[in-house]
């Protein structure tokens, strides 16, 4: 009944006036806007996203399809990849395909898998973590053991076995990555929830007669926003790298669909004669994961000015 009502906001009180006070999130956003590193990373991520979305347009402009083999122009007489030229800006791969177009198409897969699997992992992780932390007791015991089990699985081994059994596909990759990522989120969220639920305002909500679901929605979740945003931003590059790993091992996206992971796998046999073949997909992967990581770190600094710096954050994530 009360569940269907929106969260109590200024709008609920009929107030459409200018916001005088800024929320902690608004303040953090303000800090990020003045952070050059974060700004640069955001711009790079946006550009990559635009390029990924406009991949067919880029292919059209260049005049090369992502899977088309240019056996005449794209390969040397010896049948080796061609270095970057005016026709093939990033050079070609071993089958005479345009690397630029393939790298741009690869960004689609990386971003799609990275973002969707991170968001799913976040959703599951927040749900499990909040339930475990808020209700404690048996709920916590059961969910906590599930978290422990998932965290103790050797994820690469389990992922490889699973993909071998079910067969590689994009959807399976997303599901596998989400499955192995939610537990870490859940653990963090559970800890945060445990500390939030001890705050007096939760007790105040109880004394008012607020239902558990409304307390979670109105009082717990908004207080989890900061750690969840930070962790999700840091989860995206991890998922991108995870997806590339799976594809590199031939378990993610099936060729000939271009993907940074399987491009790197194809390039391993040619790196001595065709540096561009391994450089561009590798650089793309490095740049996007780095951008997300640095951005995540900036967001964290912005949300918690007392937090520790980049190096500590990176070390903790591994």
């Amino acid at each position: 009944m009360t569940m269907t009502m929106p969260v109590g906001t200024a709008a609920e009180l009929g107030g459409a006036e200018a916001v005088r006070a800024r929320t902690p999130l608004a303040l953090a956003f303000e800090r990020i806007r003045h952070d050059r590193m974060a700004l640069a990373c955001s711009i790079f991520i946006v550009l990559t996203t635009v390029a990924a979305i406009a991949a067919p347009l880029i292919a059209h402009l260049v005049g090369h399809g992502p899977d088309t083999q240019y056996l005449g122009t794209g390969l040397t007489p010896q049948g080796l990849p061609r270095p970057p030229t005016a026709t093939f800006l990033f050079g070609t791969d071993d089958l005479g395909r345009d690397l630029l177009v393939r790298v741009v198409y690869g960004a689609r897969i990386s971003l799609l898998v990275g973002v969707t699997s991170s968001l799913s992992a976040m959703t599951i992780g927040v749900a499990v973590g909040v339930l475990a932390g808020y209700f404690r007791g048996i709920t916590d015991a059961v969910l906590g053991r599930c978290i422990d089990v998932v965290l103790s699985l050797p994820f690469l081994l389990a992922a490889i076995s699973l993909e071998t059994v079910v067969g590689p596909s994009l959807l399976i990759s997303i599901l596998v990555i989400a499955f192995f990522s939610w537990a870490a989120v859940a653990r963090i969220v559970r800890g945060q929830t445990l500390s939030i639920r001890e705050k007096e305002f939760i007790e105040a909500a109880r004394s008012i007669g607020t239902s558990d679901l409304r307390i979670i929605r109105v009082d717990v979740l908004p207080n989890l926003a900061a750690p969840v945003i930070v962790y999700t931003t840091l989860l995206i590059p991890a998922s991108i790298a995870f997806e590339a790993t799976l594809s590199y091992l031939g378990l993610g996206v099936v060729p000939p669909t271009p993907d940074w992971g399987n491009m790197l796998a194809e390039a391993t046999g040619y790196y001595q004669v065709a540096w561009w073949f391994i450089l561009f997909p590798g650089l793309a992967l490095l740049a996007i994961t780095l951008a997300f990581n640095l951005l995540g770190d900036s967001i964290r600094d912005a949300l918690d000015p007392r937090g520790d710096s980049l190096l500590v954050a990176l070390r903790r994530r591994r």
Partner: protein, 343 residues
């Protein structure tokens, strides 16, 4: 609901506690599911509050005052005993059944910082009970919130601000506005001023007193400072280690305390009253509060009592009326004499 139910004494009652206990197991583990020890935070407390009246509960930190408050508000399940509120036995009510009861039974918390969600705007915080209990139609929420803010002395234009923009005293006013939003019959104030500056304390106490006169709301007012309680209370109960050691009309307690603990507390309080200055002669309390997990035998206060004798360690004194005054009860084998106390 009726305005209090007739009590055995014939006076209307808003709240009646009968022999309420709350034990917390400590050191619970797989091997010891019942816990290694039991903290007897509240150990057999009976009291009543009349409609529109104030019961002050005083005691040292750790004597179980806040636990008692949470037992009355049914934020904790009781270990045993009975809580009757407004003629309704709420002792074993489920959270669902308690919801309508909470319309009439609200609470103000000690910490004005942690008791307000910093991520919500003040208007939304104050409106929460109105929304939860659907007390006011949506369109009327803002008007009601602003009316409440004005009532507790806040600028109603500030409803769109965040708690962090207010001072401690103002934040406590927000907490009071929230608790009074749905016109409760009883307000449980759990040390509402102990986290505030002394100058602000008086403002909040005066506000609470004014609101009581205006709204005819009953208070259970908890504090560790007797002087604070004196201003607002009709009845006072002094707690020591989970038990009431002395209870009576406020004047009686302050003019002629009968329990040595009450006398010691009064002596420790800074009371600017020359008539009572002599009470300061009473020995200041020495020693620490004994552990509620392992209270002393017999009278719980005997370890720190200047008048303790053999009997005190053997028999627990019952809370009984003294001097033929049914209202003034004390749990002591050797209570202070009225004349002695006034000497």
């Amino acid at each position: 609901m009726s305005e209090g139910s007739p009590a055995p004494s014939g006076r209307p009652e808003l709240l009646r506690l009968t022999d309420v206990t709350k034990y917390f197991p400590v050191g619970r583990s797989l091997v010891q599911p019942r816990g290694a020890a039991t903290i007897r935070a509240v150990d057999g407390i009976s009291l009543t509050v009349e409609p529109g009246q104030t019961l002050g509960i005083v005691g040292e930190t750790g004597c179980g005052k806040s636990t008692l408050a949470r037992c009355i508000a049914r934020l904790y399940p009781l270990t045993s005993g009975q809580v009757v509120f407004d003629g309704l036995d709420i002792t074993a009510m489920s959270r669902r059944d308690l919801r309508p009861v909470r319309r009439d039974l609200q609470m103000v918390f000690q910490d004005p910082f942690s008791s307000l969600n910093g991520r919500r705007r003040v208007g939304s915080i104050i409106a929460e009970p109105l929304i939860v209990h659907k007390a006011v139609p949506r369109t009327g929420l803002r008007a009601r919130v602003q009316q409440l803010m004005e009532m507790v002395g806040l600028n109603p234009e500030h409803y769109n601000r965040f708690p962090a923009e207010f001072s401690g005293g103002q934040r406590q006013r927000i907490g009071i506005a929230r608790a009074l939003a749905i016109n409760p019959k009883l307000l449980i104030c759990d040390e509402p001023v102990s986290a505030l500056d002394v100058s602000i304390q008086a403002q909040i106490i005066n506000l609470l007193a004014d609101l009581q006169a205006e709204l005819h709301v009953g208070y259970v007012f908890i504090a560790h400072d007797l002087a604070v309680v004196e201003h607002v209370s009709d009845q006072v109960a002094v707690m020591y280690l989970g038990k009431i050691v002395e209870t009576g009309r406020a004047e009686a307690i302050y003019q002629a305390p009968r329990h040595h603990y009450t006398a010691a507390l009064l002596a420790a309080a800074s009371v600017p009253d020359p008539d009572r200055a002599e009470l300061r002669q009473a020995a200041a309390l020495s020693g620490e509060l004994p552990s509620p997990a392992d209270p002393p035998s017999g009278c719980r206060f005997r370890t720190r009592c200047p008048a303790a004798q053999q009997l005190c360690s053997e028999q627990e004194p019952p809370l009984a009326s003294t001097n033929g005054n049914a209202d003034h009860q004390v749990a002591c084998h050797f209570p202070l004499d009225r004349t002695e106390a006034m000497r």
